[in-house]
């Protein structure tokens, strides 16, 4: 059970081979240069005016609000799914793989397809949606639809982050809690959750940024109406048709918010992950 603190090969050589270095550099360039292009092409002089425009502020407010609600929903439902997934190691191969596949689907599915699927389920003529319509609830083209679409695509990020934390945490602490009189519920609340808190925080951050950037499922399922369903990515995409400067300004806002969330929260909230 006791493991020496560090595998031996780490630090054996401080330098990677030249092939690794070149490939990594090319890969990093692919990741970073497009963002650089965005920054260089940005209409900096007009930017304050563009950013203060009602269309941008409206889209920003809608995006932040819906992404926050989606993240809360992902936490509410995703943590139990992660617990189920971590228990599934005791199941048979088939149900275990089915569960994992079900959770992975939104990751590999093109978001537009996810949006179509949501429409066919929750639309006015959808399997569930037609019942809802009878009692006067219509979901498509509402802010609620944006939240559902975002939750759909962002959930796997949270589930897998928490599941990874559950797997790497020393679960024997739960046994210790039981011998001290803790019920399973108390053990989960007082021991398991705090142990995986860094994983939950990391998952929530990923979840929030994914929800913030969600486009395809949203435009398909929720449509696009200013202030109701037109989030930052959709506003940016539509602006590209007629007004590239505004599109770039919107993209910059999205980029800035994502960077602030990823960098800012990590240092403050996730010392365990950064370390």
């Amino acid at each position: 059970m006791r493991v020496s603190s560090r595998p031996k090969h780490v630090g054996r050589s401080g330098r990677a081979g030249p092939v690794v270095a070149v490939l990594a550099a090319v890969g990093l360039a692919l990741l970073v240069l497009p963002l650089l292009g965005l920054l260089l092409r940005a209409p900096w002089a007009e930017l304050p005016g563009l950013l203060a425009s009602e269309a941008v502020l409206q889209a920003l407010g809608l995006s932040l609000g819906t992404a926050a609600v989606s993240t809360v929903l992902c936490l509410t439902f995703g943590i139990p799914i992660a617990v189920l997934l971590s228990h599934s190691v005791h199941w048979g191969v088939v149900p275990r793989r089915l569960l994992r596949a079900a959770i992975t689907i939104p990751l590999v599915l093109p978001p537009v397809v996810g949006g179509i699927a949501l429409l066919l389920l929750l639309g006015r003529r959808g399997i569930v949606g037609q019942w809802l319509a009878e009692i006067g609830i219509t979901i498509p083209f509402t802010t609620g639809a944006v939240v559902i679409a975002q939750t759909f695509v962002a959930m796997p990020f949270l589930v897998f982050a928490v599941e990874g934390a559950l797997r790497s945490a020393d679960r024997r602490s739960e046994l210790a809690a039981a011998t001290l009189g803790a019920t399973p519920g108390q053990t989960f609340r007082l021991v398991t959750l705090p142990l995986v808190a860094p994983g939950i925080a990391a998952g929530a951050v990923l979840c929030f940024t994914r929800a913030l950037g969600e486009f395809g499922a949203t435009i398909t399922f929720a449509g696009s109406f200013p202030g109701v369903t037109r989030t930052l990515p959709i506003a940016s995409y539509l602006a590209m048709n007629s007004d590239p400067d505004t599109a770039i300004a919107l993209a910059l806002v999205l980029l800035a918010v994502s960077l602030v969330v990823l960098l800012g929260l990590r240092d403050r909230w996730l010392p365990g992950v950064v370390k």
Binding site: M1, R2, D170, R172, S173, L175, A176, A177, A178, T179, L180, G181, A182, T183, Q186, L190, V191, P194, L195, A197
Partner: protein, 230 residues
Amino acid sequence: MTLTVDVTVSRDAFDVRAAFEVPDGRVLGIVGPNGAGKSSLLAAIAGLVDASGAIRLGETDLLAVPAQRRGIGVVFQDFLLFPHLSVLDNVAFAARVRGGGWTAARAKADPWLTRFDLTELAQRHPDALSGGQAQRVAVARALAAEPAVLLLDEPMASLDVEIRDDVRADLARHLREFGGPAIVVTHDREDAAALADEVLVLERGRVVQRGTLAELAAAPATPWVERFAR
């Protein structure tokens, strides 16, 4: 009350079977080679793994009782302190889960910190403790739950050699003060001699001998016992 154990624990390689009694105030050492099933036996008594047979405390059958209601305290081999809780909160944990919130639980934990000389370490987290300190926290945490039975799994194994004599003497004192039935799993003769009143030898899941160390040395039942007791 007397702890009566007569159990079979299923394992991959072989089943572990043992039957013995430990009366109040007595410490039974369980010794044996690595992999003999000592820890499995302890886990079964604590209710952490399934077993068949009987585990009784006085007249109460504990076998069907879940771990959290057995009233059996455990000091784990690598202590398993809660890494996210301070020393104080580790010791207060048992009181906390009985209800009443952290403040009341911490008040109840306070005397245990004093008794185990942990007051100055109260706000430290487990990763900032030495091996000896961590062991004291683990024993204090288990005893603060006021268990009817105390089980210790290799409590000395992860300690540095230099401090072992002191720690062992402290632990022996706490075990004497405990008053209920106690079981110490160890593979070390000196630990068995200092902590246990008599020992039970387990080899490949079977009890091969039981007695004081002197009795074992006088008439060893197996070559392993002969090497151990000498």
